[in-house]
């Protein structure tokens, strides 16, 4: 009888040695005449435990980790295939508290299934959302998404249902669905994880979106830095076409939806939806002004849904279980779950999908386990490089769009990067300006020139050149960036800069 062993093919796991561990498992098992069925699954999202090796014993998955190549022979000899105890033994994977405490709706299959096995996907409730959708008219489909309270998970948190409704109600012979998979925020990886770990859920979500608004063509705009996701998506798309989940007359419905992956060229700003569309059209990734909204005049001037990976990947469960089901999770106007990504100076980095409402402190300590260095956490940047730094005094803020906004902070795409008390916040503020300067598309003046000037002003502040005047100038520059920029890149760079200055003035050489 063959034993099923799971080793993640997720690129974070791979970078920690998963491929080598998998190869060692095959080699050593062969040497021992042990017949194993090795499955390269997605990651469970507990990165401090990767490479994680799971073995299925009596229908239950037991975990060992983190496993190095040098552990493999010993593990097999100690009875890994029977789930026997070992210093690396973690017990049942799903009983690990970090995992158990989550509410995995969007990531339900990630880490469990073989990512590119359509059979596996279908066996784990895959395509039930589409099946329901095919029984509905377009308005009903959109209504489920509206009712679910789903808001754009890319960071802007715009209600997805409203966006879809606009596209649905804009007549055009051609409409498009674009999945924004240009996940460029530092400290974020949920899009990558789901594209590598469960690509079919994104394909299903986009297909439903296409049917709902009347779009027959979808594009996944994938950042070029995600080669594993590229391979997984293309493999899954090919299988979906073959099984008639994509293409013409999907599952005999008479409906058409085509999908292809397009690679970006490495510009952060192409994660901004309008420059993304410019890039897709083959032009320079330059931000477009709005209006017109992409929902009315988007890709090639046609009505276009542009949604983040997580938003679209959340659609199948909504259509499967109903808008109400999804809506029951969360708090206030933030409904459902948010896959948070813990990174930086934390003990337990990884992916945590929970309903909105938990506090940042719970996330940092109950999940993250505090700082990796053991020093106090000084600040946390939430929402990527354009997110504000939260000081300890704001750690009790609930993970909720409105609660964060009230603090002049953002939840964004759910990236959480922690810093201990060795971090110099003035240097980090300078870095924010540097980041903006490096990634600015160069269209609007505040961002194009202001980011470079901001970097220079920060240099002067740090070097104590006319420090007081330069602090005034920095605030005035941030004001210009905030109010004058064309898109969020320039418009939000003041968030990390000013939050650092306001909460940690001493790092800027200014009295508190």
């Amino acid at each position: 009888m063959s034993i099923t062993i799971y080793v993640s093919a997720d690129s974070s796991a791979v970078s920690l040695g998963a491929d080598r561990v998998a190869a060692a498992l095959v080699k050593h098992a062969q040497e021992r005449n042990i017949e194993i069925n090795l499955v390269r699954n997605g990651s469970r999202g507990m990165y401090w435990l990767e490479p994680l090796v799971e073995v299925e014993v009596n229908g239950e998955r037991l975990a060992y980790g983190p496993v190095q190549v040098s552990d493999v022979a010993n593990l097999l000899d100690s009875g890994l295939i029977y789930g026997r105890k070992h210093p690396l033994f973690l017990g049942a994977t799903e009983e690990i508290p970090y995992f158990k405490k989550q509410q995995r709706l969007t990531f339900a299959r990630v880490g469990i299934t073989d990512p590119v096995s359509l059979e596996d996907y279908v066996a784990h409730d895959g395509y039930l959302g589409l099946a329901n959708a095919l029984k509905m008219n377009q308005t009903e489909m959109v209504k489920h998404v509206t009712d679910s309270g789903l808001r754009g998970r890319g960071g802007a948190a715009f209600p997805t249902g409203i966006k879809w409704n606009t596209v649905l109600n804009t007549p055009s012979e051609q409409k498009y669905i674009i999945c924004n998979a240009d996940e460029g925020d530092s400290g974020t990886f949920s899009d990558r994880m789901i594209m590598e770990g469960d690509p079919f859920v994104l394909i299903e979500g986009m297909t439903i979106a296409g049917l709902a608004v009347g779009a027959t063509q979808g594009y996944i705009y994938l950042r070029v830095e995600y080669p594993h996701a590229h391979i997984a998506l293309n493999a899954a798309i090919a299988k979906a076409y073959k099984a008639n989940y994509l293409g013409e007359n999907i599952q005999g419905s008479g409906k058409t939806f085509n999908l292809e992956v397009r690679l970006g060229a490495g510009a952060y700003v192409c994660g901004e939806e309008t420059s993304l569309m410019e890039s897709l059209e083959g032009k320079r990734g330059l931000v477009r002004f709005k209006p017109p909204l992409p929902a009315i005049s988007g890709l090639f001037g046609k009505p276009t849904v542009v949604n983040n990976v997580i938003s679209l990947a959340s659609v199948p469960v909504i259509l499967h279980k109903g808008g109400e089901y999804y809506r029951d999770f969360g708090m206030g106007r933030s409904r459902g779950t948010l896959p948070l990504q813990l990174a930086g100076n934390l003990k337990h980095t990884g992916l945590v999908e929970v309903a909105f409402g938990m506090t940042l402190r719970e996330l940092l300590y109950d999940f993250g386990g505090g700082s990796a260095t053991g020093k106090p956490i000084k600040a946390v940047q939430v929402g990527g490089p354009l997110g504000a730094y939260l000081p300890e005094s704001q750690f009790d803020t609930p993970l909720d769009y409105e609660a964060f906004a009230a603090n002049w902070t953002v939840l964004g795409h759910g990236g959480v990067v922690a810093f201990d008390d060795t971090a110099n916040m003035a240097e980090l503020a300078k870095y924010s300006m540097e980041f903006c300067a490096a990634e600015s598309c160069g269209k609007c003046t505040p961002c194009r020139i202001g980011s470079t000037r901001g970097y220079e002003v920060m240099d002067d502040i740090i070097n104590n050149v006319d420090r007081e005047k330069n602090i005034v100038l920095l605030r005035s520059l941030c004001d210009t960036l905030l109010n004058g920029s064309l898109c969020a890149l320039g418009g939000m760079t003041p968030y990390p800069v000013l939050s650092a200055l306001n909460h940690f003035p001493e790092d800027f050489g200014v009295d508190a």
Binding site: C441, S451, T452, L486
Partner: protein
């Protein structure tokens, strides 16, 4: 100096209006108007830099931010459309702070040399810094563009990236207005910079030097070198370009009597603020040292010229003409009017000939270009003119370009056409050569390129018509209600004959039948299809037949009488239409009325107070024949260069040598003047008042911006000559001449200088029926007597000019963007930087056969003569066809063209000459002898100038 108002964004064409409030003032604006434009319309100027009303809004500078009641943040007013009930605030403290913050950033990367800057006094950045009240730059900039290197490669403007604010107006103008896409922004973020081509110098890039970028630039970054040299102009006068038949309106920006720059007029209805390298920059010829400003006479062309007073020159000319008439008879003299001169001057020359010379020996250069258009369209539609205005093309769904090369020959209209093509209109190109529109214009390509053999136009047009008739694509309603049905039925039977089918024609035209059918189908079935054609249609032995065939196509498919359709001849020179309208043909009085018609003659006899001849006079080629026969001995040639432009040039030269008195009136000692006995210095378009009529029948004002260098405007010279001949003319201003024209020409009844001033320009017919002119003709009925369009039969007859083993290739000709016609003007400007010699394009196969590579000297021999040019091996031409331009006299393109001509109008068959090409080492014998002759003539001129 008065500056044109800039509304920031283009006007909306919406008819629905929206009411809003800006700073408490109520405004009504068409839906789709930007808040910026709506504000400007009531005099509220919102600061702006990246917005200008010639290009679409971009929203990058962020100076124009406003606040909208109930709205979030500070949207840019250039990109925010007006909405019903909207309340906008354009000025408050918060907005002022942002604007000042943005301006401080701009200036942190801009040289502070305003006082010595070439844009001083005409700089929007300077204006805006003032408007937002910037008083201090607090930054200590380390990274800047202040040391960026200037690009001086273009002869007319410089590019100084250190002054660039990266507003992208130049890039957008290059894309949207010109359609060349030569400019882009290279790099991103702070490194963003304007880049011609791929970081090349302007001259090495695809730039066509149209000037749109210079026009759009708000700073000194892109600046005319003439402004750098001379400073800002102090006054401006609106006038009309004297180059091609597009007739662009320009502001001549002046310093006293010196033209500092020519700037396209935004209100110009033909060009809407666009220009090309010729009109925009190539005006230096007008004050070139080669200008002849003193009258000269000589008794023989072997003699040195003698500079004389105007009185003496005129008296000598008059006495010679009288002497010749006394000796050889009344009909022994004649004249040639100019398509470059004004309507008034042309009118006067033909009047002088008919009334003063007492014969009808008047012709014009339209003889050699668009005479078949006059003939064909008069016969079929009842009027010798194109049917549309230029703007009509923006409503076309299919554009068929036959034998024309708009992006080179009519560049400003070409840009408008490309804009429409980029919007999705379909394109059919009928041309033996791959013109730029076929696939060398960015984002434009021909859906069908019917690459026919030169000389087979009629066969191809018949094949298109055959397809339309036999595939039941005729617009029967249109034919029934608008056309002469009997003529149509006859034509239908004629054209449905099998030998007209695309399949049968394929062996003649070389165009695959399926392509012809496909093209015919889209032409006939799309909503609005328009035909634009040029000299590739007319300059053939069957030029008139082709024009008629085109008219038949348009009538059969109902593509006439509304915007987006029509038959549109693209006129070569500025006033071809006008010179024809003014009665320059030997058989027609002004208004295309036959001289043999008694009633018409009586009308003119009464007006002119003289008895007129009812016998049609000599056409240009007949004049040459008659000169060689000894019966035509005196010629008054105004503003034409027949010794270069006419076919079979050796024959022309012989005829000129045979004449006893050749009077040339021109601004330069042109090729014809080398054969002249009297030289009367002409005036450039900058030196006189008058009007030009462009290809869309638009009568536009020409205004005197400087005194004539030779004292008199051309109309005054003609008047002096007339008076000396004893026929009195006493006009004190060209407006009086126009009044006389209006009184005699029914389609001009309501035209006057006052009305032109009021409207800017007028498209004739302009009379009681159409008091404000007629943008589109034949909307209700055709102008033929019975109001119906006439179908005429168009049997294809092969040209006599056949390829043989001795002359196995066909030479066809065309022109190039930077040069104009015989080049007399453009060769005397820096435009030679783009094109300094004519070259012979030859297909690689034909080149290979002859061992020719690009750059080789090749001899081109026809039945008429031989010349030598350098070769350019190119796949633009098809095997068996060679091509050249004819802008340089020494090229001798017309040494090889033959005396074949159109059966109806004698328009020369320039476009088809059978030739042989061989590799050679020396210029041809003709070129050598002509070079000697030219040199000798220039010495004779120098003698006059030294003595004078």
């Amino acid at each position: 100096m008065y500056k044109e108002k800039d509304f920031g964004t283009p006007a909306s064409s919406a008819t629905q209006t929206v009411n809003l409030e800006i700073d408490g003032f109520k405004v009504t604006a068409p839906a789709g108007t930007s808040v910026m434009r709506a504000a400007a319309s009531i005099g509220i100027e919102i600061p702006k830099l990246c917005a200008t009303d010639s290009v679409e809004p971009f929203g990058s500078c962020r100076l124009c931010v406003v606040q909208i009641e109930g709205g979030r943040g500070m949207p840019a007013s250039c990109t925010t459309p007006v909405a019903e009930g909207m309340k906008v605030v354009t000025q408050n403290k918060k907005l002022a702070d942002v604007r000042r913050g943005v301006m401080e950033l701009y200036i942190s990367d801009h040289p502070l040399d305003c006082l010595t800057c070439s844009a001083n006094g005409d700089c929007e950045l300077q204006d805006m810094a003032g408007a937002v009240g910037l008083r201090e730059v607090r930054y200590r900039p380390i990274t800047t563009h202040l040391n960026a290197v200037k690009d001086e490669s273009n002869p007319y403007f410089s590019f100084d990236p250190s002054k660039c604010i990266v507003c992208s107006r130049c890039v957008r103008a290059c894309e949207e207005t010109q359609g060349t896409f030569a400019l882009t922004i290279d790099g991103r973020g702070f490194d963003s910079k304007v880049s011609p081509g791929q970081n090349e110098a302007f001259m090495d890039s695809e730039c066509v030097s149209c000037g749109a970028c210079v026009q759009a630039c708000p700073t000194a970054t892109l600046m005319e070198k003439s402004v750098i040299d001379h400073g800002q102009p102090e006054h401006a006068i609106v006038t009309t370009c004297a180059y091609c038949g597009v007739g662009c309106s320009f502001r001549a920006e002046m310093k006293g009597e010196q033209v500092i720059r020519m700037v396209p007029n935004k209100d110009g209805k033909a060009n809407h603020g666009h220009s090309c390298v010729k009109g925009r920059f190539a005006f230096g010829y007008a004050t070139h040292k080669d200008r002849i400003t003193k009258p000269m006479i000589r008794s023989s062309i072997k003699d040195a010229w003698k500079e004389v007073s105007w009185e003496e020159a005129i008296a000598y000319a008059a006495s010679e003409l009288k002497r010749i008439q006394a000796k050889y008879g009344k009909d022994s003299i004649g004249g040639i009017t100019s398509s470059r001169c004004t309507n008034e001057e042309t009118y006067l020359v033909q009047k002088l000939i008919r009334a003063g010379f007492g014969n009808n020996n008047v012709d014009t250069c339209a003889r050699v270009c668009h005479s078949p258009t006059g003939y064909g369209l008069k016969k079929t539609f009842g009027e010798s003119s194109g049917t549309q205005d230029f703007d009509s093309v923006m409503d076309s769904d299919v554009i068929m370009v036959i034998g024309a090369n708009p992006t080179d020959g009519h560049p400003v209209f070409g840009s408008m056409m490309k804009k429409r093509l980029r919007q999705g209109a379909k394109l059919i190109v009928v041309d033996p050569r791959e013109i730029d529109l076929v696939k060398n214009s960015p984002h434009v390509h021909a859906n069908h390129h019917l690459k026919l053999r030169p000389g087979t136009n009629v066969a191809l047009i018949n094949a298109l018509a055959y397809t339309i008739v036999t595939e039941n694509l005729v617009d029967e309603d249109f034919v029934k209600t608008r056309c002469d049905v009997a003529s149509f039925e006859k034509w239908r039977t004629f054209i449905a004959q099998e030998h007209h089918s695309p399949e049968a024609s394929e062996s003649i035209t070389g165009v695959p039948a399926a392509e012809v059918r496909a093209a015919a189908r889209i032409y006939a079935t799309e909503k609005n299809s328009a035909i634009y054609y040029g000299l590739g249609v007319t300059e053939h032995s069957q030029g008139s037949t082709s024009v008629i065939g085109i008219a038949n196509l348009a009538m059969a498919t109902g593509n006439l009488g509304r915007s987006g359709v029509g038959v549109n001849p693209l006129r070569g020179q500025n006033n071809v239409q006008g010179s024809c309208d003014m009665g320059s043909f030997p058989h027609e009085f002004p208004g295309y009325r036959n001289v043999a018609d008694k009633a018409t003659r009586t009308l003119f006899e009464n007006a002119w107070q003289v008895e007129l001849s009812g016998t049609p006079g000599l056409r240009i080629p007949n004049m040459f024949e008659a000169a060689l026969d000894g019966s035509f001995m005196g010629l008054y040639c105004e503003g034409e260069d027949i010794a270069q432009s006419d076919p079979d040039i050796k024959h022309v030269h012989a005829a000129l040598r045979a004449m006893e008195c050749v009077i040339v009136q021109d601004i330069f000692l042109n090729e014809t003047a080398k054969f002249a006995h009297v030289f009367l210095p002409g005036s450039s378009f900058l030196e006189k008042d008058g009007t030009f009529t462009n290809a869309e029948r638009r009568i536009s004002p020409v205004r005197k911006v400087m005194k004539p260098l030779a004292v008199y405007a051309d109309w005054e010279v003609t008047q002096m000559l007339s008076n000396a001949l004893g026929y009195p003319m006493n006009y004190t201003h060209p407006s009086e001449i126009m009044d006389e024209i209006a009184s005699l020409k029914p389609s001009f009844t309501n035209v006057s200088y006052a009305k032109i001033d009021e409207m800017g320009s007028i498209q004739w017919p302009c009379n009681d029926e159409a008091p404000d002119g007629t943008p589109i003709m034949h909307t209700e009925h055709f102008l033929r007597d019975n109001g119906k369009g006439l179908f005429m039969l168009t049997e294809y007859v092969a040209t006599a000019e056949k390829v043989t083993p001795m002359f196995p290739l066909i030479l066809t000709t065309g022109r190039i963007l930077s040069q104009y016609n015989v080049g007399a003007q453009t060769r005397r400007t820096d435009n030679v930087a783009w094109h300094s010699e004519d070259r012979l394009e030859i297909h690689p196969h034909d080149a290979e056969d002859r061992g020719v590579v690009t750059g080789d000297w090749v001899g081109i021999k026809s039945r008429a003569g031989e010349t030598v040019l350098r070769a350019l091996v190119s796949e633009r031409v098809q095997p068996g066809v060679v091509y050249t331009t004819f802008h340089f006299p020494e090229s001798g393109a017309n040494v090889i063209t033959t005396d074949n001509s159109d059966w109806a109008t004698n328009c020369p068959e320039y476009k088809v000459t059978a030739v042989q090409i061989t590799k050679v080492m020396h210029p041809s014998a003709w070129q050598q002898s002509y070079a000697d002759f030219s040199e000798q003539q220039l010495e004779l001129l120098e003698t006059a100038q030294q003595n004078g």
